[in-house]
Structure formats: structure tokens, C-alpha cells
Symmetry: C2
Subunit: 280 residues, 2 copies
């Protein structure tokens, strides 16, 4: 791409695909803040998590969906979009990567499954300040006014202050008019999960097939979580890391697996196989 | 499934698919430890990350690939396999879920992209003690003897001691004969990443397409990382969490975004839009 001025370069992607209203709202929100480049999936990629395309080639197709803004539809996943944008379109790090605005929540455990958040995380891994935005409404015709308003405010903050090293942001916005939103809260990811129930059906040949359905269950009573914030009318902002090490758990293994330590506190040997014989 | 005795139930899955030699080595390693149920993808699913299948139905096909062991090929992703196994096959939590043995490393940042590790993480989210195993050799005919040996030892430890709450294990095994492996080390995830370079080619119609290639770069000089352990002949064991909150970063936002606090230290309001006018 050609950068024509000193404005920051802002890479925009999503997982609902380049035709989704949410990414168009995000482009409009970012337009005053920098030089925009859009690289988004050519089709919906919800639930793709951090999938990458290893065994097929990818294609980029220039798009005029955003008028004068440089935009490409990519045949790959949201993470592929970020990787390809950096290597083949931008040729350098943008000052900001924003992903979304997702049609539907990516709060708490949903971050794990979300292509929107995985695209932001991939940018974060590349050292690019990154934010994923999601609106708590799945509808194709949802009103993105409040979400776009907060996306602009948060992007300005990130451009002004930067982000701590190895950190990106997971932002969720309640589906409320602007004047009913109470503000923003810095939160931790709530301890919550999906209770799946697969809907089992029989095809015309009598063979079973399964549709994923489920209920979201919040097990977390804390008032410092994203779920609490969202249910109380706040925009939730969770700082996110991609070091998945459970540092606090390391001591458990040194304590309980200590029989097998030899050379150093980190070393665990299993030379004495007899110890395990009563388990088999 | 029918459980015939008091042995623990062990769910086995992978991302290389039900035909991969790695999962067959894992089944043999686990066979003495419990009642095995295999639910694995019917085709390779490497690089699928935490993808789930939202918009297509899934199918399960009984497999006789493992002799007398109950096994199913699933049309979905590794995460789908774990979800379906729990809801439609096991109907309850197994005592252990093991994933792999992956053909190729899932150390450091590779955990993010790995279907093998995402399957283990999904089990962890469900409250099932879970371990992903990976061998540092991509070859289809790699020798899994050492990896299977350590997989059995580690599974025994997990069955005996359990795992800390909300923690799973990412285990990588160097490609060495058993007597050349120095033991095991509890590690943190190394700070490393892939430097992508897309190989750009032209199709017969002159249109470009891109193949993902790249080099793995370790930026981490620590001797407590998985990369250090593996390069020094140790099996690396990283305790992994799925709370992605960057807890240590929360203070940054309270400090730098404090202009917008009103009601409580958590609250940040943006009512005074004028503050941002010089940024636009």
C-alpha cells in the first residue's frame, strides 16, 4: 500500500466476512483516525478460532466495497488475513489492528472460539497494538451506533497511550443506546463456559447427524469480570495475553511430582518405573 | 459407551486424524491405564486452532481401526470431537483426555494454532484433566517409541495426582531414543513466533495465489522455557490456562486511562468527548 501522509495505518479485519455490516461500521469509526486498509475473509468465518490455512493456497481480491479505502477479500481465515496483510499488502507493521465489529458477544470463554479475537491476537503476536470489538447482538441488521462510538474512543486511547507489551484488548459492547451505556470497565475474563447439547437428527437414509447447540453458563460471581460489566450496562475491556502458561500452577508439579527430580528443581526423571506399577 | 470395570475412562483424540500413526501410538500407550474411547477427526485438521463447526451438521462413524477399543471418526474439528464425545458418546466426564501424539512440535506459540492442543484445552474447559502430546518430528513414519513411553508416564502422574484447577498440560517430546532423553522439565511457554513469508505464484490465468511458509524464531533466552528444555534433550511440560486475562496489565489502564474514571477505580467514562478532539 501507499501511505500518503503521517496518519497512522490501521488494519481492519473480522470474522463475519467483508460483507458484514459490523466491519463497515468499524471502517466508518476508524476513518477519521488514520489510513485504513481492510483485509477481511470473503465469507463468514465465525467460530474459526486461531485456524490457519496450511494445505491450500490463499487468494486476495481487491474490493471496492469501502469506496476510496484500500480493501481486499481473502479466501482464508481471519488469522490468515492478518498474516497476508502484513507480508503482502502493508509490508510493515501498522500502528493499529482492529477486528470486528463482531455480530455477537466474544466475552469470557468465547474469546477461545472467536475468529474476530484470534485475528486481533495474531496481530498482537506480531507486535501490533490490537483490539477486537464485539456487539452483544447477532442480528445482521443490528444497530452499530453505540459500538462504533466506543470503538473510536478506544482506538484513540490505544493510538495515544499504546498497549502494554504482549497485550491486546477484548472489547464487548452491550446492545444499548449510547446514553444508556454506563461507561467502560477494565475487566478480567469471567469463568464461564458453554453447556453443549447436540441436537441429534436422522437423515433421509436413517443415519444420525448432529447440530451444535448449547447454553452459556457463567460460574463467576465476581464484579470485576466482563460478564458483570456487560450485564450492568458497561463496555467491557479485557486485556488479553497469548502466553498461556499457568505460571501459578508450576509449584504444584514441583511439589507433587518431586519424586522424580534429580539434577535441578526443574528436572523430573522417571527412571524408577516401579513407582508406577500399582497404577496400571 | 459401556464401562465394564473400575478403570478410568480415557478419551483420546488428535488433529492429524484417526489414521495418523501418532494416535495409534497414543492408544497403545494408554491401553494399560484405563478404558479407552477414541473420537478423532476423519481427516487431518492441523492448524485448526480452536475452530468449532457452527453452520454444518456433524457425523460420527464407528471405526474398527483400534481392534477391540471403542472408536469413532468425526467429520468435525478436534474441538468438535471433544464436545461430541462428551455429549453423545461418554455422557459424562472421562477421568482423562489425551490428545495426539501430534506429528510435529506444538511448543511455545504453536499452542495457539494447534488443533491437538485446542482439543486438550476444550477438555480442560469441561473440567476434564487433559494433556496434549507432540513429537518433534513431522514425518508420517516417525518413531513414536520415546513419545509413547513418556505419554504413559505423564498420564499415570495425572491420574494419580490430578491437575490444578483450570490447568491442562502441553507436552512436547524431543525426537531422541529413550536413553538419550534427559528427563522432563516443567516449563513456561517460550516467547517465540513465526516469521511468515508467503510464497507468491501465478496460476495459469496469471492470477496470484499465496502459500504460507515461514521460519520459527525464538526470542526467549530463558532456561525455564519449553524451547530450552527441548533443545537440551528434555521432555517439556507446560501447564496451560484458558483464562487469557493479562492480569498484570490491568494497572496500566487504570493509570493511563484514569482521566475517564468516575464511579469507582474500575469505571472509565468518556462523557467528555472534547478530550479526544485533538486526536482525530
Amino acid at each position: 500500500m501507499q501511505q500518503n501522509n503521517n496518519k497512522p495505518i490501521i488494519l481492519i479485519t473480522n470474522d463475519d466476512g467483508i460483507h458484514a455490516p459490523g466491519i463497515h461500521a468499524l471502517v466508518e469509526a476508524m476513518r477519521p483516525l488514520g489510513t485504513i486498509v481492510v483485509v477481511a475473509p470473503d465469507k463468514p468465518q465465525s467460530g474459526m478460532g486461531h485456524a490457519i490455512t496450511l494445505n491450500e493456497p490463499l487468494r486476495l481480491k481487491k474490493s471496492n466495497l469501502f469506496g476510496d479505502i484500500e480493501a481486499y477479500a481473502c479466501t482464508g481465515t481471519p488469522v490468515d488475513c492478518v498474516k497476508l496483510a502484513k507480508d503482502k499488502i502493508l509490508h510493515k507493521k501498522p500502528q493499529l489492528c482492529v477486528s470486528g465489529i463482531n455480530h455477537g458477544s466474544n466475552s469470557s470463554i468465547n474469546i477461545i472460539y472467536s475468529g474476530t479475537m484470534s485475528a486481533a491476537m495474531e496481530a498482537g503476536i506480531e507486535g501490533i497494538p490490537a483490539v477486537g470489538f464485539s456487539l452483544l447482538n447477532y442480528a445482521i441488521d443490528a444497530d452499530f451506533t453505540s459500538a462504533a462510538h466506543y470503538a473510536a474512543k478506544i482506538a484513540e486511547q490505544v493510538l495515544q497511550h499504546g498497549l502494554p507489551q504482549n497485550t491486546l484488548l477484548n472489547v464487548n459492547i452491550p446492545y444499548l443506546p449510547i446514553d444508556e451505556i454506563n461507561g467502560m470497565r477494565i475487566c478480567r475474563q469471567a469463568h464461564a463456559k458453554w453447556e453443549e447439547e447436540y441436537d441429534e437428527r436422522l437423515d433421509p437414509h436413517g443415519r444420525p447427524y448432529y447440530w451444535l447447540t448449547g447454553n452459556f453458563v457463567n460460574y463467576d460471581g465476581g464484579d470485576d469480570t466482563d460478564e458483570w460489566a456487560l450485564s450492568h450496562g458497561y463496555v467491557s475491556i479485557v486485556p488479553v495475553q497469548y502466553d498461556l502458561t499457568a505460571h501459578q500452577a508450576i509449584a504444584f508439579f514441583h511439589k507433587n511430582w518431586s519424586l522424580y527430580q534429580t539434577k535441578s528443581p526443574h528436572d523430573i526423571h522417571l527412571d524408577n518405573s516401579d513407582t508406577f506399577n500399582d497404577l496400571g
